[in-house]
Structures are given as structure tokens and as C-alpha cells.
Symmetry: C2
């Protein structure tokens, strides 16, 4: 028994999950993207948990955040040390109950976690796409997801659920395919990036592009732009936390020392944490995917795309029930942005529940086990009761 | 007449100012630093405005922020396009009135604006110090400033005034040399960096060190780490503004276009602004100076240095009147940090006035013309009346 399995033998987990792949859009049936460019074939990596019922009406689509993947819960093999990224929320009897719901998560287009992205082979050249990969939008990601759901025979979703960039996809689902969505849970997200969020993303992109190993994106098979990508990730981690979160987590505590080094070593724990996060990230993520996905998030603008600048008009297309959750210490997508979307929903007479969860962990709070959030989720998905409106 | 002179002919300005330099600490009289290392000779670049009166009691020391210099006001020659960095505040009849006060500003130790720093020649090698430059603390900077003031024959200062890292120096003056300071104005500053402020500085440092042209600091006479330094500056600019400031200044407005480029050009004005600020900064600032000065700011910790962890104890040494000003949208050194220091001052029975200025421009607000701030300054410096306490 693996360490993980031993540690969790009494937990109720989805257990061993098989990674799946679906490919479509073979030439000449490429997908036409929002930019006008075409892309194909497209492979989507996905995982499913639980069983689709006979009426095919118990499917829930989970949309992952920018650097996430399709591996939401459980393990791929017994020896895996760590389960999927939302293990605390998804499983038998959990907030998203896999005994009741058929749960699907799809790696987004443009990523590097199994779905087609800039590191994939360009059939036109038999080389990785690199910057020849076309710019994909949140809308393009969602359109590709719909092709897969059609293939799986899933008509109307019981719910779409997403946090952060996953929440943008959930919003896109609600207005692009209103008849395909019965309910939506939007966590720590926004209908469009503020200038501040764009600024952070732009600095992260510039950090990658400043790395000489980036080579205009043509680094596959060569030395990768790890230094630039690590700096980009450190910037990300500052935005995922908050002033309060960092004060609690690190304060001014020193790392394995009692006095300053008077050099450029990591004196403070927060420095050491950031360096570690940067170094860890480059092992699993592709720098070009970061460029494409952050740009897609910056472009996302529900009011521009669907409401001619009016968020109220944009939500006129939506039909589903909503649960909107913000986190008090999230300064990447602060609560006022969630309130804005809730107001626009209400002006359209939509059924919307809103909750600002008191949480000290900043933007990342939705990823951290939180019984309150699990209860909110369970209540909303099972009986539609409004936990707070 | 220069464009600047023509534009400002009716303004009251200090006019043409002569840059000055003072050198001390020739071996074997090097200065011993907080780290235990020694440094010498030390040159300090400084400027003065107005006249020292016969009683030598009208001197005001202005302490500049991290990337600033001694050139506070006026021009160096008629053809200069731009005046010093605090032109709106310092001059005849202005908030800091040069008809009344003798104003001095000294470029900090470790900088690259005329004072000794990592780009200066190491007398031991006849090469630039680079990383052989010893780590200097805010305390070291202030001790060097005092040597210069002694040389100028200035005993007790009418006031020390500083914003941001300049405010840290002002704080250090008040507790290190309490008998030398009659009053202090502390703008947008803190008694010690939060984990968030350290995090931003650390990411900026990592961006520089990630640039292969940095070469462990040995880039003088070679290609400089401009890409890394530009990214570091962009990070800085995000912290100097704020969510609200960026929303007002940029929002989601596009740069010279009506639609997205669907590539990695600067689509949004905020992207273009950051790229411009990064590119401009590398023309005037030395990457190693950024490393040393940000580290000095991170190390600064008034309670640790003077109060054994207690800010109240640290201020027990202080004797001067204080004016503390925070800015409502400053999220680098938020108002709560100013309130903390004000409380600690009051617990020591010190005469302290505190004002949170409503300003949308974030941390940088003290550099932007603001009649309210000028009035606060004038009132505090001339009659000691508390504008708000």
C-alpha cells in the first residue's frame, strides 16, 4: 500500500482514476477560433468520477484554474503520493458527491497537461507549435469542452463549477450555451480582469520572454526558460496570497537562522517559499502555456463579448441558477467584482446566491479545505436552497 | 531659454542647483558597517537649497526613496527638460519653503546616483565593487549622512522628511540620533516591511539574478542585465500603484487599437505603460544597486533593532515631534502600518500628528502634486500646529 493509500485508507476517495483523451477536429474539420485562425486536430485530456445516470442529467463539469489539470480527485495508481487538486471537495459524500453526480474535468485548450497546447506537435511541421500555436480564448476553450460533452452524450449539465480562470469558463458556459447549464458555481472569479490583474500577468509574461532560453518560444528539445518561468510563478504566488495571508503564514520569520546573512541568500521564510514554488513549478509546467493561458484570461470580458459593454445585457442570455462565492482576502479578484456580477444577474431576475467567505488565504482560498465551502456547495447542488442572498 | 525654463518662468523654483560631493572614510578610517564589514572611502552626492541661517537651526534633511537621488528641486542647467523629483513641494513659498529653510538631500549609500555603491570603484581592486560591495543597512545610510551633516556644521536638524524608503531613514534618524532631530515627517512608510513587501522585493531581485547578463553582478563594462532589471521595475510599478489607481489610469483600455491583436503585443494600455517604465528605468539605474537597496529596506526593522521586538520600546528613544502621513490607496505600506507607529509614538507621550490622505494613486501619491499635503507640510514645519491628531 502506498504512503498515500495508507494515510487515506479510511477516507472516502474516488480511488483510482483513469486518464482519458478525446481527439477531434482532424483536418479539414479544424476548429475555427475566435481570432479567425484554425486549430486541429484537438486532443482534450479529461477524467470522470462517479456514474452518469440513465436520464443523463446528473453530470457536473468542473473547470480548472490556469495551471491546473483534469486530475481533480483520487490517484492514477496506488503508488501516487498525492491525490488530485480538489480531493477535499470531490468524492463520495463530499461537497461534490460522486455517489450522486457524474463529475467531469477537462484540461483546457492551450495547457500542457494532456490537452493540445503550444508544446503539442503541429501537424503542418511535425514540430511543436511553440508561438505558431494560435491564440485561444476562454470562449474557444469552452467550445472545445462542448464538443467532448456532445461526444459523451451529455446534454444539459446539472452544474458547471469553476474557480479563478475556471470560473471564467463557467461564466462563458452560462451565456454561450444557456440551455446546456442548469446551475453554475463561480468561485473567486471575475467577469473581466482589472488593470491590476492584467499588470501581474503582463509582468509574468515579460519575465518569461526576458529569459534568453525562451528563444521566441522555440525552446522545445533545448534548454527551457526555467529562470523566467520561475520568476513568473513567484509573481503568481504573490497574487494568490494576500497581505494578511502572508503575515500569518510568514511574517518576518527567518529561514533556519537567527540573524541576517547580509548577502542575497533567502533570509526570510517568505523568500525561501517563493524560490521553492518557482523551482517546483518549472518541473511541471510549460512556459508557453503560461503565456497563452494568461493572455486568454486577460482577454476574457463578458460584458464586451456578450453585452456590448454592459454586464446586465451580457447576463440576459443566462438561464441557470447561480452560486457566487468570493473570499474576503482575495485581492486578485476582490469581492466587489463578485458583487458586480451578482447585481447584474439579479437585474435579469436570475436565481443567484452570493456568499463572501471569510478566509485569510487570499485568492487560493477555494483550493484549501474549508467545511463552510463544502457545505455551501453540497446545499446548492442538491436542493438549490440559497445559503445567503 | 530652455523649454523647461520657458514653461516655468512664472513659477517660483530654486532655479539652478549645483551637485555637490563629499568624501570621507579614506583607509584606514573606513566606516564599520552593521554587518561588521568596512567600507571606505565613501563619497556622498548631495544638493542644498536655500541658506543656512546664522544660528544654523533652519536645516531640513530630505531623505529620498529607493531609486531616487539628491536632485530634489530646480535644474542643473537651464537646458534641463525636467526639474528635480519633488519640485512641487520644495522651493520658495512651497510646502518646504526654501526662503525659510536650508534644505539638504543626500543620495543614499548603495545607490548609483553619485554616492558610493556597487558600481563604484573598489580601491582594493580598481574594479567596480559589484557583489563585493558590502551589504549596507538603513542605519549605515543614516550614519554616513550624519558624517556629512557634521562636516557641514549642522547640529540639530529642524526636520527630517522622507517618503517610503526615505521614511525609513527618517525613522532611523529619530531613534539613532534623537538629539539631532527636532521634527520628523514620515510619508507612506513603515517601521518594517511586511511579508508582502519582502515578497515583491524578492521577486524583483530574482528577476535580475535570473538574467544571464547579470553574471553574479560582474556585468560592468559588459552587456548589462537590462531585461531582468526592466522586469524588476515593472514589479515595482505594480506595487506603487493600486487596484483603484490602475482602474482609473488604465482600466481595460486598449493601446492604439480597437480590437485584440491575438498575439503577445501590448494590447492593453497598462501593458504598454509597464513595458515603457521598465525600458526607461534601465537607462538610469544600476541593477546591483536595486539588489542592495531593496535588501536594506527588507532588513529594516525598528522594533527588532531598537526595541527588542517592541515598537513602543523602540520609540522610547525618540524625542522629536512627528507628522505621519499615509495614503488611502497605498497597499505597499497600508495605513494600518502608519497607525501602528502612531500608537507606539503616543504610548511614549510623543507629540504626533497623523493624517491619512485620501488619494487614489497608491504608494506613489506623495510624489504627485497635492495641495493638501503641501499645506500639511507647511503647517507642521512652521508652527507645529497639529493638522489632525
Amino acid at each position: 500500500m502506498s504512503e498515500y493509500a495508507a494515510r487515506h485508507k479510511d477516507d472516502r476517495s474516488v480511488g483510482i482514476v483513469v486518464p482519458r483523451f478525446y481527439t477531434f477536429g482532424e483536418p479539414p474539420q479544424e476548429m475555427r477560433l475566435a481570432s479567425g485562425a484554425t486549430l486541429g486536430p484537438i486532443t482534450l485530456a479529461y477524467e470522470t468520477y462517479g456514474r452518469l445516470n440513465d436520464r443523463r442529467n446528473n453530470a457536473i463539469l468542473i473547470l480548472h484554474a490556469f495551471s491546473g489539470d483534469a486530475h481533480v480527485a483520487g490517484v492514477h495508481q496506488e503508488s501516487d503520493e498525492k491525490p488530485g487538486w480538489w480531493e477535499y471537495m470531490v468524492g463520495p459524500g463530499k461537497g461534490i458527491d460522486t455517489e450522486r453526480f457524474f463529475v467531469i474535468c477537462i484540461n483546457i485548450l492551450g495547457s500542457c497537461m494532456g490537452s493540445t497546447g503550444p508544446a503539442s506537435t503541429n501537424p503542418a511541421t511535425d514540430q511543436p507549435y511553440a508561438l505558431d500555436f494560435p491564440m485561444v480564448t476562454i470562449g474557444d476553450m469552452v467550445r472545445a469542452q462542448k464538443v467532448l460533452l456532445d461526444h459523451l452524450g451529455i446534454g444539459r449539465l446539472h452544474a458547471v463549477i469553476g474557480g479563478s480562470v475556471g470560473g471564467m469558463q463557467a461564466l462563458e458556459w452560462c451565456v454561450r450555451y444557456p440551455q446546456r447549464v442548469k446551475a453554475a458555481v463561480l468561485l473567486a472569479t471575475t467577469t473581466r480582469h482589472s488593470a491590476l490583474a492584467i499588470a501581474f500577468n503582463e509582468v509574468a509574461r515579460q519575465a518569461i520572454m526576458a529569459d534568453p532560453n525562451w528563444c521566441q518560444g522555440q525552446y522545445y528539445g533545448q534548454t527551457k526558460p526555467d529562470m523566467g518561468l520561475a520568476v513568473a510563478r513567484m509573481i503568481g504566488h504573490v497574487t494568490y496570497l494576500s497581505d494578511a495571508a502572508m503575515r500569518l503564514k510568514f511574517g518576518r520569520r527567518l529561514k533556519d537562522k537567527t540573524d541576517f546573512s547580509f548577502n542575497f541568500d533567502a533570509d526570510f521564510q517568505v523568500e525561501s517559499y517563493l524560490r521553492y514554488q518557482g523551482a517546483k513549478f518549472v518541473e511541471r509546467f510549460d512556459a508557453n502555456s503560461l503565456l497563452f493561458i494568461t493572455k486568454a484570461a486577460d482577454y476574457f470580458d463578458l460584458e464586451r463579448e456578450y453585452g456590448e459593454g454592459s454586464l446586465v445585457s451580457a447576463f440576459a442570455r443566462a438561464q441557470c441558477r447561480f452560486l457566487v462565492v468570493s473570499f474576503s482576502s482575495d485581492w486578485l479578484y476582490p469581492t466587489y467584482q463578485s458583487r458586480n456580477m451578482v447585481q447584474a444577474m439579479k437585474k435579469n431576475g436570475l436565481d443567484v446566491s452570493f456568499c463572501e467567505v471569510e478566509a485569510q488565504w487570499g485568492h487560493d482560498a477555494f483550493l484549501i479545505p474549508n467545511p463552510r465551502l463544502s457545505n455551501l456547495m453540497r446545499g446548492f447542488l442538491t436542493n438549490g436552497a440559497s445559503p445567503q442572498s
